[in-house]
Amino acid sequence: MTIAAGIDVGSSAVKVAMIIGDEVLALHSERIRRRELRKVINDAYSIALGMANVKESDLAYVATTGEGELVEFRRGHFYGMTTHARGAIHLLPETRAVLDIGALHARAIQMDDRSRVLNYRMTSQCASGSGQFLENVARYLGIALEEVGPLSLQGDAPETVSSICAVLAETDVINMVSRGIKPADILKGIHISMAGRYVKLLRASGNATDVAITGGLASDVGLVEALRENCADLRFHTHPDSTYAGAIGAAFWGAYRHRVLESRKAS
């Protein structure tokens, strides 16, 4: 059976997936945070190889996605939305749309049951309300990233952030802290305004009702809750491995391409 690797080079973390046939063998993610990117990629890759207990030579295809141009040992590259759709279908087969929220961008993707991308929307230009921003705020508030979601759920009087720019919004947050607003309410407020933007993106992309959330922020329960509160007509699904959707998708596309190439060779 084909063994393949998918490497999703994001702007804040590198994610690696190892697959065999229809199954995922291993997943690993390494946050970049001020480290040299090539080294992080190599580390993440070798750790994942170890976890999957496979040798490099076993791999039929190494596929990259995201900003994967850095990866010298890749065989092919797939665009982010193609891979996220594929990954989402693998993890959450009932979904027909993906909301991928990463460190700098959010993407809304509509797809069919075979993960064919039908339509999409993506944030560009201003990075406001991205994962990076949330990360900065968390650091500022002294809250570990994993605590952000649970804490936000406790907010009962959310304070909304008005600024569109992440830099200026940080200042808003600073002001809130100094006004004595609870971190839970600040976070909830941020989640609500982020959710608003993402829903806008989703609606603009199409109208599938079952939405898979992928990317780093899928593990943020506060954001997921805010999304659910924002629109009752959509069903949001997450999976413990949602963060890896891009890497998983890349691996599966890689395996697929390998088969196509092999059969071409054969004929």
Binding site: Y79, M81, S124
Partner: protein
């Protein structure tokens, strides 16, 4: 003289830059992107010089001082060029009614350069020959008198007819280029065609026509160019502020072959040939009323724009449409939802993103265009 298409492109680049970055030829009249009747300028012996912004290499200092961040880029680079002396040798500037930005820019010009010739050209939004036609004729007559004054010589009907013929030729050459590109986009990539067209802003139309023909011949004969596995797309939204060259390269690398577009509409807003017999000025008037391209800047009585787009999609056997408009371009962005709705009704795939003439980062665009092309290519068979 035989030349290869790459020599020809290089030549175009060099010539295009003579206007923006060095001395423009003497006796030329600058004009903003669309709806300027260049024939009238040409007939007076003046060179019509198209100003489509400053590209992505011009450093903007004074230009930004006059424009808030939420205004598109083209007025700032145009002002920058003017204030840094690059446009000093123009004999005047024409500002057609494209949008509020260009309109107000005409007033800024009046204030900043009180001694120079500036004219705002009000293009009618009424297409009744007795009403809008009359108004347009009045505008053109005024323009004719102004050009005569600047050139110091009368524009007789014969001269005007001759200029119309020259531009008919030029438009025909451009039409041929588009037809060729649509037939074999890998042979005539947009990233080259764009440069060939751009040169037309600063060289006399006769020379430009020759350049285009040279290029077509060169590229046709280049056997090293092979058909590529790309998706055929129509590009819409770029009629005024021009995209950086890197954007076009990015699109093509991401797998999109552009088979039609609305770049440099100012050179081809009159579709087909203008008749040479009869009153040449009236022929110009009628050409506007009956044979001009619809754009976002014009009132579109019965959804003409959507019709144009669907027609182009079909005629060019395209597989998708990319809306690529300058950031903060009101006309293009306001009409986009209407066009999108029309495409949706017709079941045509589309995607959209924005740029500015000095965009330097193409990661997002590459991803979007790449995914778009992927989704057409990987799945079009099924």
């Amino acid at each position: 003289m035989a030349c290869t298409e790459s020599e020809c492109v290089a030549d175009c680049v060099r010539r295009a830059e003579t206007l923006a970055f060095a001395d423009p030829p003497p006796h030329s009249i600058g004009y903003m992107p669309i709806y300027v009747p260049r024939e009238l300028i040409h007939a007076a012996g003046l060179l019509p010089a198209g100003l489509y912004g400053g590209g992505d290499r011009l450093e903007i200092i004074r230009g930004d001082a006059y424009f808030q961040s939420y205004i598109c880029r083209i007025p700032r680079s145009t002002i920058e060029l003017a204030l840094s002396g690059h446009l000093d040798r123009l004999d005047g500037m024409l500002f057609p009614s494209i949008c509020d930005v260009i309109r107000n820019l005409s007033g800024m010009w009046q204030m900043l350069f009180p001694d120079r010739y500036v004219r705002y050209i009000d293009v009618p939004q009424n297409f009744d020959p007795a009403v809008g036609g009359r108004f347009w004729r009045h505008e053109l007559e005024t323009l004719r008198r102004d050009m005569e004054r600047i050139a110091g010589r009368p524009i007789d009907d014969e001269a005007l007819r001759n200029s119309i013929a020259v531009y008919n030729e030029n438009r025909a050459a451009i039409r041929e280029l588009y037809a060729q590109r649509s037939r074999a986009p890998w042979r005539f990539p947009l990233s080259e065609a764009y440069l060939v067209l751009r040169a037309g802003n600063s060289v006399p139309p006769e020379e430009h026509t020759a350049l285009i023909r040279d290029y077509i011949r060169g590229a046709e004969n280049d056997l090293s160019r092979r058909e590529m596995d790309q998706s055929r797309v129509v590009l819409a939204g770029m009629f005024c502020e021009q995209p950086p060259h890197g954007l076009l390269v990015t699109l093509e690398r991401a797998g999109c072959a552009v088979v039609d577009d609305d770049l440099f509409l100012g050179m081809r807003w009159i579709q087909g040939d203008i008749p040479l017999d009869g009153d040449p000025l009236q022929n110009l008037v009628d050409a506007y009323l009956t044979a001009s391209a619809t754009t976002a800047s014009r009132y579109s009585p019965e959804g003409h724009r959507a019709k144009w787009l669907l027609e182009s999609y079909r005629r060019n056997e395209a597989e998708g449409v990319i809306f690529c408009a300058p950031s903060f371009c009101d006309p293009a962005l306001l009409e986009q939802p209407m066009l999108v709705a029309a495409l949706d009704r017709a079941g045509i795939p589309h995607t959209e993103f924005k740029y500015s003439e000095d965009t330097g980062q193409f990661a997002v665009i590459r991803e979007q265009a790449g995914t778009f092309s992927d989704s057409i290519r990987l799945w079009s068979a099924s």
